[in-house]
Amino acid sequence: MTAPAVPFGGKHVLFVDDETALLVPMRRYFERLGAAVTVAQARESAAALITPGGFDLIVLDLMLGGDERDGIEVLQAARERSGDTPVIVLSGLVTPELQRELSDLGAEAVLTKPQTLQELARVARTLMGLPEAP
């Protein structure tokens, strides 16, 4: 059995990160895997994009513009408006405290930066309930 050529076909993923250099490879990688990608670089624009059922997955960089709180607010907005959408949080430094707080807020996964695109895609697949890649 072979995996579909476009494993994320039809899935809509929102990437929130203030660092363009990071958005570029992530967007390209996921689009290559068939996902529709939307990017946002700030708290306000990200929050404005989130609507109920608008995205199948949100990948959120915690530190937006130098402030962790901004990322956390985006996470809260996602939970309020689109409760079913899984969220992967990316952060440069994950402490037990942060891990616990993010879990409490409903982040499905917390990943440390840097992270390979492959690993990111694997976690994304798991969270969206897609079959494992070959």
Partner: protein, 949 residues
């Protein structure tokens, strides 16, 4: 006046009793003499009324005697008045107001008045009688004259001497009284025998001369009063005898002639006796005066010796008072000082001591107020209380002498005497000298006392200044502004500058020379600008002879002369080296914190870049058919980015405050617990020596962090000794701190590196050998524990780091022995989840060696898989909190406990940061273990978790 008038009237009538009808005059006439005596005794102011009373009585008596013949009466009155006026005028002129008939002059005046004066008045009287009554003028004049003469010679002295001399002189000496009584008895006996005929053949009339001898005796021994008294007795007896005319000495046929003879005899005797007595008493007085003068001289001499010797005012006063009493024989003497215009008695001497103060006052008061001697004599009457008091004490004279010094009256010297005649002019002058000497002595003593006081005050002031200068830690100094010469530097100079004050006095330039070359010009300029700036306030460095530096805070202020020119500079210099050190280290730690924050901020962005690079490399790697060298280049880029990312992670960790899990721990135990690990870490050519304090050294600290500190310092020391050496770890107690000292014998730290060694990324180990975070981490941990770090380093000799942590009084919380762990309580099965391959393997082996059954898992997902197979057997989950596959330790634990609620959980992580400042909260059955932990702590944590709750 009625008394005077009636007495006179009586005397007048008495005279008429002896009226001689032939002469129309009386041979016995006491009335005129009575008036003379009264006028002599009474003050002049009373004379007019006395004269009026006498005149009235005279007129009345004459009218009555002459059957109211006005011409005769008026003539007699005129004669009497002339006689009285003449007598009183002559006597007062010679004897003054205080006439006592104890001087030859006074007696001569009396005799003159009695002879010449009465002769004149007798002319008036006799003429009146002759014209009015036809009396023979010669007989009348003679009778009148002799009777008045005798009256004046007898009655006037008798009254005056008795009144003026007073009675008590006789009372005072009974021997004198007895003698007087004996003489008078003999006198009376002789008078009786001579003038009172006994009848028959027995007659002593021939012995009238006996009285002459007795008169001499009386005059010599009893004085004028005795003579006057005796003469009145003799006159009475002789006149009686002459009147009787039988067997008496004066036995002339004519009674009038007999009377005349008797009168002449008595008058002559009285005049002789009075003259003799006056002469004797005058001589006696002169002798008394001489004696008193002598006495005063002796007193002065004695007092002068006191004056020379007396050291204090009290001694002087006591000595002078004693001299007055002992040498001078004055019964009472005292000294009073004038205070607030009142004379205060300060010293009383003599028999009266301590006499009643009321005895004081009087002439002394006057002397103190007027500045002139004042004297009160016994014969002076006075009703003041002090004088009545003095008289009651037997004092008859008082002298007050002012104590004058430099135109100021200090007080007065008061001297009393029992002799009414005391304090004549000579004596007053001599005692005045004594008073002057006393005043001089007092003044000298006071000046000396003032001098002593000033000396003592000066000495006390100097002592205070010396104590201040010697005990204050700051340096007081004073220089001459023009020459720069140092006038004074307090002893603290030697301590701060390390040079002697003498060297400073000898070479003033050494002051500036000692200042650090970089600060010298600034200080010199500031000192020179003092007249304009009004003072300087500078901090500079002083180089001590041994080369060490002291920071000094020096302030200089100008001292100006009257013209306003600065001629001296005074200042205070304070050693502020310690303060400077503290300021320096504060600045240092602030700098480190800032660097840390900055590094943390940069690290984050840096990490993002690295993440992007890694992703791009990964993307690039997915292209097929890439040349092999490009492939390997991509791999190298990825590896480098990974390493860089590891570094940034450390930096992020460093820049965050770690959560402190403090407990009371023993520093000795921490060192011994790590010793084994350290020995494996050190090379063979670096032996480890421990020198631990014999008692446990307890502090409240995070054990893992303390281990980290020891580890970092040891690694640092090892790297400082590439050629080998010795590592010494010591623990000791220092005041309220416990100390960890790590000493190596390595290269040492260059002085210019010393300020930077705690900066992050500062390293001398060469590229790729160290991160530069080891000492920075140590610094951060020590700061979090409120501890201190000291570094002593000498290039080529080695370095010592000393960490001080606050000591704690609490008991060490039980921690298992580091070396041998007891066997497990019971058999248990563990699930160990750890993404780090090496660490997982090590942990599993450690636990297996203790007999546990251990299942390893590399991630949360992996752990779930293991659980599916072995779930029911597993008692404890030991899991890392952060894992790569997104299922964190906490989430894993929650999921597994849903299936098996009794499952015990140990969470472990190296990222012990506390973002929101909150403590880590754990549910029941969960515990936390920091990573990395020494093996014994891992075992202890497992054992504690497995203990039944």
């Amino acid at each position: 006046m009625a008394v005077v008038a009636s007495t006179y009237f009586a005397a007048h009538q008495l005279g008429y009793l002896f009226f001689d009808p032939v002469a129309q005059a009386s041979p016995v006439w006491p009335a005129t003499a009575l008036v003379v005596a009264i006028l002599l005794l009474q003050p002049r102011a009373r004379w007019p009324e006395i004269a009026a009373a006498v005149a009235a009585a005279n007129l009345l008596s004459n009218l009555r005697a002459t059957d109211y013949s006005w011409p005769v009466s008026l003539g007699c009155l005129a004669a009497n008045l002339v006689e009285v006026a003449l007598a009183v005028w002559v006597i007062r002129r010679v004897g003054g107001a205080a006439v006592k008939f104890d001087r030859v002059g006074e007696v001569l005046a009396l005799i003159a008045a009695a002879t010449l004066g009465t002769a004149v008045s007798a002319v008036v009287g006799a003429a009146t009688q002759a014209l009015a009554l036809g009396a023979p003028f010669g007989v009348s004049h003679r009778t009148w004259w002799t009777s008045e003469l005798l009256g004046l010679l007898l009655v006037t002295p008798l009254l005056v001497t008795w009144v003026r001399s007073g009675v008590p002189t006789w009372q005072a000496r009974w021997t004198h009284m007895a003698e007087a009584a004996a003489i008078l008895a003999a006198w009376c006996l002789a008078a009786w025998a001579i003038y009172f005929p006994l009848g028959g053949e027995t007659s002593f009339a021939a012995y009238a001369y006996l009285h002459v001898a007795l008169i001499a005796w009386i005059a010599l021994r009893l004085g004028p009063r005795g003579v006057a008294t005796a003469m009145v007795i003799l006159a009475a007896a002789a006149i009686y005898g002459a009147s009787a005319g039988q067997g008496a000495p004066f036995a002339d046929e004519s009674p009038t002639r007999r009377l005349l003879e008797v009168q002449l005899y008595v008058a002559t005797a009285a005049a002789t006796g009075l003259l003799l007595a006056a002469s004797v008493s005058e001589t006696g007085r002169a002798a008394g005066s001489l004696r008193r003068a002598n006495r005063a001289l002796r007193t002065i001499s004695s007092a002068n010796q006191v004056l020379v010797r007396a050291a204090t005012e009290e001694e002087l006063l006591r000595g002078v008072s004693r001299s007055l009493a002992d040498e001078g024989g004055y019964p009472l003497a005292w000294v009073g000082f004038l205070e607030n215009d009142t004379l205060e008695v300060v010293e009383v001497g003599g028999e009266g001591a301590p006499g009643p103060p009321s005895v004081g006052r009087g002439p002394a008061d006057v002397a103190a107020r007027t500045g002139r001697p004042a004297v009160v004599h016994g014969r002076d009457s006075g009703a003041e209380p002090w004088w009545a008091d003095a008289r009651a004490h037997g004092y008859r004279a008082a002298l007050g002498l002012p104590l004058l010094s430099g135109g100021r009256t200090l007080g007065a010297l008061s001297v009393f005497s029992r002799e009414p005649e005391a304090f004549d002019t000579d004596e007053i002058a001599l005692l005045g000298e004594l008073a002057d000497d006393l005043a001089f002595g007092l003044q000298a003593l006071r000046a000396r006392a003032d001098g002593h006081r000033a000396e003592r005050a000066l000495a006390a002031s100097e002592e205070r200044f010396r104590q201040l200068a010697e005990n204050v830690r700051d340096v007081f100094w004073m220089t001459d502004f023009v020459s720069g010469r140092v006038l004074y530097a307090s002893p603290a100079y030697e301590r701060v500058w390390g040079r002697t004050c003498e060297s400073l006095y000898e070479s003033p330039e050494s002051r500036l020379d000692a200042v650090h070359a970089e600060d010298r010009e600034r200080l010199r300029a500031a000192a020179a600008a003092i007249p304009a700036s009004g003072g300087y306030d500078e901090e500079y460095r002083v180089v001590r002879p041994d080369g060490s530096l002291r920071w000094v805070h020096d302030r200089g202020l100008p001292i100006r002369d009257v013209a306003g020119n600065v001629y001296r500079v005074a200042g205070v210099a304070e050693d502020i080296t310690e303060r400077k050190g503290i300021e320096e280290s504060l600045r240092e730690s602030q700098k480190l914190e800032a660097v840390g924050r900055l590094a943390g901020g940069v690290a984050h962005d840096f990490n993002n870049m690295l993440a992007a690079i890694l992703m791009q490399v990964e993307m690039a790697g997915t292209y097929r058919d890439l040349p092999e060298d490009v492939q390997s280049a991509l791999t190298d880029i990825g590896d480098a980015a990974q390493r860089a990312s590891g570094l940034t992670r450390q930096l992020m960790l460093f820049s965050r405050k770690q959560v402190l899990h403090t407990r009371a721990l023993d520093l000795n135990a921490a060192v011994t617990g790590l010793a084994g690990m350290l020995r494996t870490l050190l090379r063979e050519d670096v032996p480890l020596h421990l020198r631990l304090h014999p008692q446990p050294l307890v502090t409240q600290a995070d054990a893992a962090m303390v281990d980290q500190v020891i580890l970092n310092l040891a690694v640092n020391a090892r790297d400082a000794m590439p050629q080998g050496g010795t590592l010494l770890i010591e623990t000791r107690e220092a005041g309220s701190q416990i100390c960890l000292r790590v000493t190596d014998t390595g290269r040492g730290i260059l002085p210019e590196h010393l300020p930077r060694i705690f900066e992050p990324f500062f390293t001398t180990k060469g590229l790729g050998r160290g991160t530069g975070l080891g000492l920075a981490t140590v610094f951060g941990i020590v700061q979090q524990h409120r501890g201190t770090i000291r570094v002593d380093s000498e290039v080529g000799r080695g370095t010592t780091f000393e960490i001080g942590l606050p000591s704690s009084a609490s008991a060490v919380e039980p921690a298992p022995p580091a070396t041998t762990a007891p066997p497990p309580v019971e058999r248990a099965t563990l699930l160990v989840v750890e993404d780090d391959h090496t660490l997982r393997r090590l942990t599993c082996r450690l636990l297996e060696r203790q007999g546990y059954v251990v299942y390893p898992a590399e991630s949360g997902v992996d752990a779930m898989r293991v659980w599916d197979e072995h779930g029911p057997e597993i008692d404890l989950l030991l899991t890392d909190m952060v894992m790569p596959d997104g299922v964190g330790g906490r989430e894993l634990a929650a999921r597994l406990r849903e299936r098996s609620p009794a499952l015990k959980v140990i969470l472990t992580t190296g990222y012990s940061a506390d973002i929101a400042g909150r403590e880590l909260t754990l549910e029941a059955g969960q515990s936390f273990l920091p990573k990395p932990s020494p093996p014994h702590e891992i075992l202890a944590a497992v054992r504690r978790a497995l203990e039944p709750t």
